[in-house]
Amino acid sequence: MHLTDNQLNEYLDNESAQRAEIETHLDSCAECAARLLALQTLFADLDSLPEAPLSKNLAARFAPRPSLPAQLPRWLTLTAVLQAAGALIALMIAVPFFSLMLPQVETPPFAIWLIEVQALWTSSLDALSNLALSFVEGYQFTNLPTYPVELSTLFIALAVVSIFWVFGNGLLLRNQTK
């Protein structure tokens, strides 16, 4: 009785419980020894397969991401500066207006200072206009801006500044989520 294929396979895989019996048979049977040798040759063939080289680096996917640039883009910095300027102008218009419209509230010293600046600016404009228009005969320049300004003008100015503010911050947030 010759060895089965299963016996030979299990023997070579070191998974056989009957090693001694199998070895005894192999010593005395050339046919089974030849079958074992053929199987061993196949094992050697499989072992001889060399490793193939990779053509790309799989580790590249796990490289750390480049950190965000420390400085904001130029155009975004400009937007922020314009926003700040817009907000300052809105403040200059609004503070004297509200302090005049709400006389019962005590006017803060800063607002008084702003009113003085506004008054100075208005009188300078007056002087300039008078100088420029002094040659225009018979024309009375009576429409110089005086406070309080029209309510609608103020709200339009505030709305425009708010739109700029929302738009500017929207851009900043969008940049962060990238």
């Binding site: 294929d5 299963n6 396979n9 299990e10 895989d13 998974e15 053929a38 199987l39 196949l42 094992f43 063939d45 499989l46 072992d47 001889s48 397969l49 060399p50 490793e51 193939a52 080289p53 990779l54 053509s55 790309k56 680096n57 799989l58 580790a59 590249a60 996917r61 796990f62 490289a63 750390p64 991401r65």
Partner: protein, 178 residues
């Protein structure tokens, strides 16, 4: 960084660091690629699956037993991914037997077909998917029958029958091409 062991790299990768995992991938990518290449017999597919292996392994890194070696673990992950891939392809693979073979061989590679390693790769590629995985796990990853049964979630008797039939087929192919 080269002084660090795989274990050190895994511990750091578990804490969310990207660079140590990249180093781990760099160390093991060739052996993982070769698992996929032996099973799939197609370079492009093998590289894709090897990349996928490292992504999956990163997801499951918290389940890795630090007392064990990383290489055998990640190569088993690769073999399993390849089996799933082949099973998904099964219907068309059976209709077209040599679908998996690399059709993009340069003249130099065609000369290599005559070499033993090319014959072995061709013979492996001709096996049914489950046979290829069993041969990979037994001959190249040196798992026991029991370990293969657990890994592939099949009965021990199937492990043996797949493996022994696979060897018979391989011997016939390689013997016929001698």
């Amino acid at each position: 960084m080269n002084a660090l062991t795989d274990r050190d790299l895994i511990l750091r990768a578990r804490r969310g660091e990207v660079e140590p995992y990249g180093e781990l991938v760099a160390r093991h990518q060739t052996s993982v690629f070769n698992v996929c290449y032996r099973i799939l017999h197609n370079r492009a597919d093998a590289e894709d699956l090897a990349q996928e292996t490292f992504i999956r392994a990163l997801d499951r890194l918290h389940t890795f037993d630090l007392e064990r070696e990383f290489s055998p673990w990640v190569r088993r992950v690769a073999a399993n991914l390849c089996l799933n891939y082949l099973e998904a392809q099964k219907p068309s693979a059976e209709l077209d037997e040599d679908r998996d073979e690399d059709k993009t061989q340069s003249p130099a590679e065609q000369v290599e077909v005559k070499e033993r390693s090319a014959q072995i790769r061709m013979a492996l590629a001709s096996l049914p998917p489950q046979y290829r995985i069993v041969v990979e796990l037994r001959h190249y990853q040196e798992l026991s029958y029991d370990e293969i049964a657990v890994e592939m979630n099949i009965p021990l008797s199937d492990v043996k029958s797949h493996l022994f039939r696979a060897r018979k087929l391989l011997a016939e192919k390689l013997h016929a091409s001698d």
